[in-house]
């Protein structure tokens, strides 16, 4: 399996990369330019996130001026229809977008770090498929119709899928990814089978399956935030261990890391993060895949920095997808899931074309 794990990475590119720049560090004083650059990127991203949050509150199908939005935030008056829109629709979807974005960005970073496979993401590990099947069954068998009713099923489905993947996939990166793909291969047709036979369930499910921040309220976040919080804390403690894992299992254990435990903790964090994300927003593609690559491109290969940046980039990407979706079609909306895919694909292509693609 060792050999195969090498093959999943990019040994041909990695070789020159290690050759370049060895022992050519400018010997100047002050903070090294990389650290300064990282700080700038993080600050810039934080500002960008604030801008996107503001846009998410201020922009939409219904034109509401900034003063009104501010009013709704500080002293809401629900009898005013504009303020009601802000309080009852825009604040919830912004909060949901923030939470789901953080969860997706972190989950993608963790999965890629743990599996050392540049294409690993929640979709590929079978987690989205698990959540989807659970939602389909809950619609078809229990007749649940509101997105609010889906969250625990989605969470449970994601958790079960992740548990199966980690139980069979164990600690080996390539095997983990293969098991995830196999599980997706098993669940996707089952979902289709139910949907082909149950038109009503299909009718409900297809709206959930696009991935969207609307149709939920803050009670979803209220119910799920503890899981998200634990997931974030675990991910934060794992960041520097991923740096060692990136060097290979052998090096990592030689440096005193207990690789098995790291993977187990990462697995737990993944379950929590992916479960939260899919329960909040449905199966959103590409955010979990693109964010870690973008972060690596912007800030280098230090996983602590990548993780910190992913926390910002995830919600930036998801919320801007949501905002753009409100604006592109007059008097209507595109779901965040579709827009996120259209945002993510070009970014991913740009990253793939860059020379440091194999930095995993």
């Amino acid at each position: 399996m060792n050999a195969a794990s090498v093959s999943a990475e990019a040994s041909p590119i990695a070789a020159p990369a290690t050759r370049i720049g060895v022992g050519r560090r400018p010997a100047s004083g002050g903070p090294p330019p990389r650290a300064r650059r990282a700080a700038l990127v993080l600050i810039g991203s934080a500002i960008a996130l604030l801008v996107v949050v503001a846009a998410s509150l201020a922009l939409g199908v219904r034109a509401i001026d900034a003063a009104e939005v501010w009013q709704a935030l500080v002293r809401p008056d629900l009898t005013d229809p504009d303020q009601a829109v802000v309080v009852q629709l825009r604040i919830p979807r912004t909060v949901i977008g923030l939470a789901a974005g953080v969860a997706l960005g972190l989950a993608g970073t963790l999965i890629q770090g743990v599996t050392r496979n540049p294409i690993a993401d929640p979709g590929l590990l079978g987690i989205n498929a698990g959540a989807s099947l659970a939602v389909v069954l809950c619609i078809s068998l229990l007749g649940v119709t509101a997105p609010l009713g889906f969250i625990w099923f989605a969470f449970a489905g994601a958790t079960a899928a992740a548990a199966v993947v980690f139980a069979i996939g164990g600690a080996q990166p390539v095997r983990l990814a293969l098991v995830g793909a196999a599980l997706t291969a098993l669940l996707t047709p089952l979902i289709a089978l139910v949907l082909l036979r149950d038109t009503e369930a299909f009718n409900q499910y297809r709206f959930w399956a696009v991935g969207s921040l609307t149709g939920r309220d803050l009670s979803t976040v209220a119910a799920l935030w503890p899981f998200l919080a634990v997931g974030v804390v675990l991910a934060a403690t794992l960041a520097h261990r991923l740096d060692l894992l990136a060097l290979g299992d052998d090096v990592a254990s030689a440096l005193g890391q207990r690789v098995g435990i790291t993977r187990a903790v990462a697995g737990l964090a993944l379950v929590l993060l992916c479960g939260t994300a899919v329960a909040l927003a449905g199966p959103i593609a590409l955010v979990g895949l693109v964010v870690p690559h973008a972060a690596r491109r912007l800030i280098g290969s230090d996983y602590r920095r990548i993780t910190a940046l992913a926390v910002l980039l995830g919600p930036i990407m998801l919320l801007s997808a949501d905002v753009i979706g409100r604006l592109v079609v007059p008097n209507s909306e595109l779901e965040a899931g579709v827009v996120a895919a259209f945002l993510g694909a070009p970014v991913l292509i740009a990253i793939a074309r860059s020379r440091r693609v194999a930095g995993l």
Partner: protein
């Protein structure tokens, strides 16, 4: 094979680099370098990290495209010779290798026969004989049926070298072949390459880290620094204290190797000096 529009001077035998430039993603590592590899000899390329010695080898071996210049093999431009024909003349051991999951040693070594096989890649009993010889020469005959994952790092390295030997080329280029090997195996490997050179007249070019082994085993030593060749020739005359200082930035004394008589570089370092030599 000399399909070139006849170069004016006499055709140089063997492998020659003429003004080659190469690098990665627009960053030039080597710029306009000339080098003639003496045929039928052992050439070692040494130099500090990032001096471009591996890049040079990759350029010579046609693993990396040249941005300028050309590499000549017996007078003809290597880039104009079909790859398979080159592969029958030049064997290469690169730094990065991937062993497919579950592959057996004999099968991996047999892949060195690729340039000698026809369209359908059928193995003949001649191929088997060559593979058997390569396994025996590298001392891993008893591992023939083992999956590669079960081997130690040193054994694996010998498997890869056996694969290059199975290619049966008169030129062998090796990029740091002694990495992963302990002292005993390093010496064994270099002895093996020496035997290859003396028994079969093979030309050997290798990038080496270990200066003293390079000095002992090489007939021709190429010292590189910063992408250029700083000294080249017989190790006895090339490897002097001043060359070592120029290339490596290292203060050292060079004394005759008590075993071989070749130059032995003894680095001085900050501590441990017993007495001032002067």
């Amino acid at each position: 094979m000399s399909s070139l529009p006849v170069p004016p001077p006499a055709v140089v035998e063997g492998l020659v680099a003429e003004g080659i430039s190469l690098g990665y993603d627009g960053r030039r590592i080597i710029d306009g370098l000339d080098l003639a590899i003496p045929s039928g000899r052992i050439t070692a390329i040494v130099g500090p990290n990032a001096c471009g010695k591996s890049t040079l080898l990759r350029g010579l071996a046609r693993l990396h495209p040249l941005e300028a210049g050309r590499v000549l093999l017996d007078g003809s431009d290597v880039s104009r010779i079909p790859r398979r024909d080159v592969a029958r003349r030049i064997g290469v051991l690169p730094q990065s290798s991937i062993a497919p999951d579950g592959v057996r040693v004999a099968d991996l070594v047999a892949r060195g026969r690729y340039p000698h096989q026809g369209w359908f890649g059928r193995h003949s009993s001649d191929d088997d004989a060559v593979v058997a010889e390569a396994l025996a020469d590298t001392g891993i005959a008893d591992l023939a049926e083992r999956p590669i994952e079960e081997l130690s790092g040193g054994q694996r390295q010998r498997v890869w070298i056996a694969m290059v030997l199975a290619q049966q080329t008169d030129l062998v280029l090796l990029d740091e072949p002694t990495t992963f090997l302990d002292v005993t195996h390093q010496l064994e490997l270099l002895d093996l390459l020496t035997a290859l050179n003396r028994d079969r007249g093979a030309t050997v070019v290798m990038v080496l880290h270990e200066l003293n082994l390079a000095a002992r085993y090489a007939d021709h030593l190429v010292v590189m620094s910063g992408g250029r060749i700083v000294a080249e020739g017989d190790p006895g005359s090339v490897l002097t204290a001043s060359t070592v200082r120029d290339a490596f930035g290292l203060d050292a004394r060079v004394i005759p190797d008590p075993v071989s008589g070749s130059p032995l570089v003894v680095p001085i370092g900050r501590f441990h000096s017993a007495a001032d030599p002067e």
